[in-house]
């Protein structure tokens, strides 16, 4: 059967390849340099594909990130993704580490969530990416119940129509 499966639309960060502009962004936005700690290695700093902060009305979001194409050891690089609810990442927890370049997170309650990601190779860690903020604001229960009520009326009417019609047809 066919279903409306575009639930993800609202929460999904559109997968924009920004590799090309990577260098430019670093030059233009000093804030990136500020937030990214600068370790003494040349591991690339990954960048989220989202161009701006994201609002989700269903509590789920797909984060994806990338590193410049020309980075060394591209295939062997792993990533560490952290989530936090505070601005300074002091209560941050690692929610994924591995080679994938995307992660789907769901079931989040209302609130602001911040994510950052960094590259890892042979025990060494690169700099953190610019963090991205996901604002989860679930739709109001009032709207939900209004639609639920309207739906119930239409479905009940349809069920009645079929049951009554069937009964009458059987008598005929």
């Amino acid at each position: 059967m066919v279903e409306n499966c575009n639930y993800e639309q609202e929460g999904t960060i559109i997968f924009l390849l920004k590799k090309k502009y990577f260098g430019m962004i670093v030059l233009l936005y000093p804030i990136i340099l500020q937030s990214a700690s600068l370790p003494g290695n040349d591991l690339p700093v990954p960048e989220f594909a989202a161009s701006e902060d994201v609002v989700s009305t269903a509590g789920h979001v797909r984060l994806s990130w990338d590193v410049p194409d020309n980075a060394e050891n591209l295939a062997a690089i792993e990533f560490e993704l952290q989530q936090t609810s505070d601005v300074a990442f002091q209560k941050a927890k690692t929610i994924y580490s591995g080679p994938d370049r995307a992660s789907f997170i769901s079931g989040l309650p209302n609130g602001d969530y911040r994510f950052r990601v960094r590259a890892r190779l042979d025990g060494e860690a690169g700099g953190w990416s610019t963090p991205v903020t996901v604002q989860v604001q679930h739709q109001s229960l009032r709207l939900a119940f209004t639609l639920l009520g309207l739906g119930a009326i239409v479905v009940l009417a349809t069920v009645t129509l079929v049951i009554v019609g069937n009964r009458k047809a059987n008598i005929e």
């Binding site: 639930y7 995307a102 079931g107 309650p109 119940f145 639609l147 639920l148 079929v162």
Partner: protein, 481 residues
């Protein structure tokens, strides 16, 4: 796929694809011997028994959407997501009495288009055909694309090849065996799907700690087990009506109503719905265990296969591959057969060549199946992701047909004008709602508008339909009668 590696070796994938493909084509040829006459080809001789009737109902309604989307729903919308999906079986329950009525009123009918034409006349019929063919064709395209994407994600088989093979296999056996092949393979496919879901489900229940999973969900993704998740609650009836609209109007379901023996249709649809009911939960819950097991999901539509393969290893992956192949094939074949019937009967025979002989119709219908398959292949080839979103427009379109169809079958005073305006206004306002208010209102508003339109016309326009007009004479057989 953002660097998600395949979960099955390409070799095993090719072997599975070959075995299943050859099996379906062979069965299609085998059953094709029965499908010599037009009635045999289009309607399996109008003599399908209960077992095959139930299986075909169930298997057709289990598409890749069920086995893939149920886990995705669970992952995105939690427990409510699975339950909301299960309500789709309601469409089958409600269609059960309709199936009986259809068989009684139209003992010689062929398509849902036949009904609309005889009941409501040409103008309404044309609008209906546009809706119905748009829906059937977009569904076919989405299945073709899903086939290619799945084979690619599961076994690393290139998208173009996976998509081509699955379409080729389905076109070939539908071509050989018509509805005989479609219904026969549906039985075997339902059996494989059920075994697969039960094996994977119990395998996962066995290897996880249920209590730990629950606690993990409670702390990390609490909204998934929340009773009051707004996004899910508001989608419930929209999805339910989408399902009802799909089943009520589509020739996929009408041709089965015509094909089943007398007194079998109602029972088959009731049992089919009942057997379908647990599937979204049985296939969907595994998504909820993913994060506890530390499985990273890169894309929500792959959560089911990923978790199954991670927990059950290559055995799990093989079972999932077989289940998905069967779910896809059982829907693609039905759509090919039913859409080609609709085009052969409603467009070719009724509009262009009313005196066509049986052999002629058989040829045209074969030609249309191949043509449909080819067109689907051509559109699937570039893998344009945004095409899939077109399918969502089908929601308001099919939602608008529910009341015209149901009242047309039961009310003598349901008017042609009412049905026409119900479909036009329902679809139009539903599409506006889709863009202005959100997708989760579109089908609901379309069905509501259509219902009101039917009721208003019933109150104002006097009409008294004679049920006998629905019983049209048969297609002329080769012998002349």
């Amino acid at each position: 796929m953002s660097h998600q590696s395949a979960i099955l070796s390409a070799n095993i994938g090719w072997i599975l694809l070959a075995i299943l493909g050859v099996l379906w084509i062979w069965l299609g040829r085998y059953w094709g011997k029965k499908a010599q006459s037009m009635e045999g080809f289009m309607l399996a001789g109008r003599n399908v028994g209960l077992a095959l009737g139930v299986a075909t109902t169930m298997a057709t309604w289990i598409t890749s959407n069920t086995t893939m989307l149920a886990p995705q729903f669970a992952l995105q919308l939690g427990v409510w997501g699975m339950f909301a999906y299960s309500t789709a079986s309601f469409g089958l329950f409600l269609f059960a009495p309709l199936a009986k009525r259809i068989r009684q009123l139209m003992p010689n009918g062929y398509t849902s288009g036949d009904f609309i034409r005889l009941r409501y006349g040409k103008a309404t019929w044309l609008v209906f055909l546009v809706i119905s063919i748009f829906y059937g064709f977009t569904w076919l395209i989405s299945m073709g694309m899903a086939g290619g994407i799945l084979m690619n994600a599961l076994a690393g088989i290139p998208y173009e090849i996976g998509m081509t093979v699955i379409l080729f296999v389905c076109v070939t056996y539908t071509l050989f065996g018509g509805l005989f092949a479609v219904i026969g393979t549906d039985f075997i496919q339902s059996v494989i799907i059920l075994i697969g879901i039960v094996v994977v489900g119990f395998g996962i229940v066995h290897s996880i700690d249920f209590g730990k999973t629950y606690t993990h969900l409670e702390s990390e993704s609490p909204m998934l087990i929340n009773v009051l998740l707004p996004a899910s609650i508001m989608a419930i009836f929209n999805n339910l009506l989408f399902g009802i609209g799909e089943i009520f109007h589509s020739n996929v379901w009408w041709s089965r109503a015509f094909a089943m023996r007398k007194n079998v249709g109602q029972k088959a649809y009731l049992l089919g719905g009942l057997f379908w009911l647990p599937i979204p939960v049985a296939a969907g819950f595994i998504a909820l265990t993913g994060s506890t097991l530390g499985i990273n999901i890169t894309s929500p539509d792959m959560v089911g296969p990923l978790v199954a393969a991670n927990v059950l290893g290559s055995v799990g992956a093989i079972v999932v591959f077989a289940v998905l192949f069967c779910s896809l094939a059982s829907s693609i074949d039905s759509l090919l057969a039913a859409t080609s019937d609709l085009i052969t009967e409603d467009i070719y025979r009724k509009l262009f060549n009313p005196k066509a002989s049986e052999q002629n119709l058989r040829k045209v219908s074969a030609f249309i199946i191949v043509g449909l398959g080819f067109l689907t292949w051509l559109i699937c080839l570039p893998r344009v992701g945004t095409l899939a979103t077109v399918l969502f427009f089908a929601g308001p379109l099919v939602g608008s047909t529910i009341w015209p169809i149901a009242t047309g079958l039961y009310w003598k005073n349901a008017s042609a004008k009412g049905a026409l305006w119900a479909m036009l206004l329902g679809s139009g306002i539903g599409l506006i709602a889709y863009f202005q208010l959100g997708w989760y209102t579109a089908t609901l508003i379309s069905a509501a508008v259509s219902m009101l339109t039917v009721l208003i016309f019933r109150a104002t326009v006097k009409e008294d339909f004679n049920w006998k007009h629905l019983d049209e004479p048969k297609i002329q057989t080769a012998g002349g009668n």
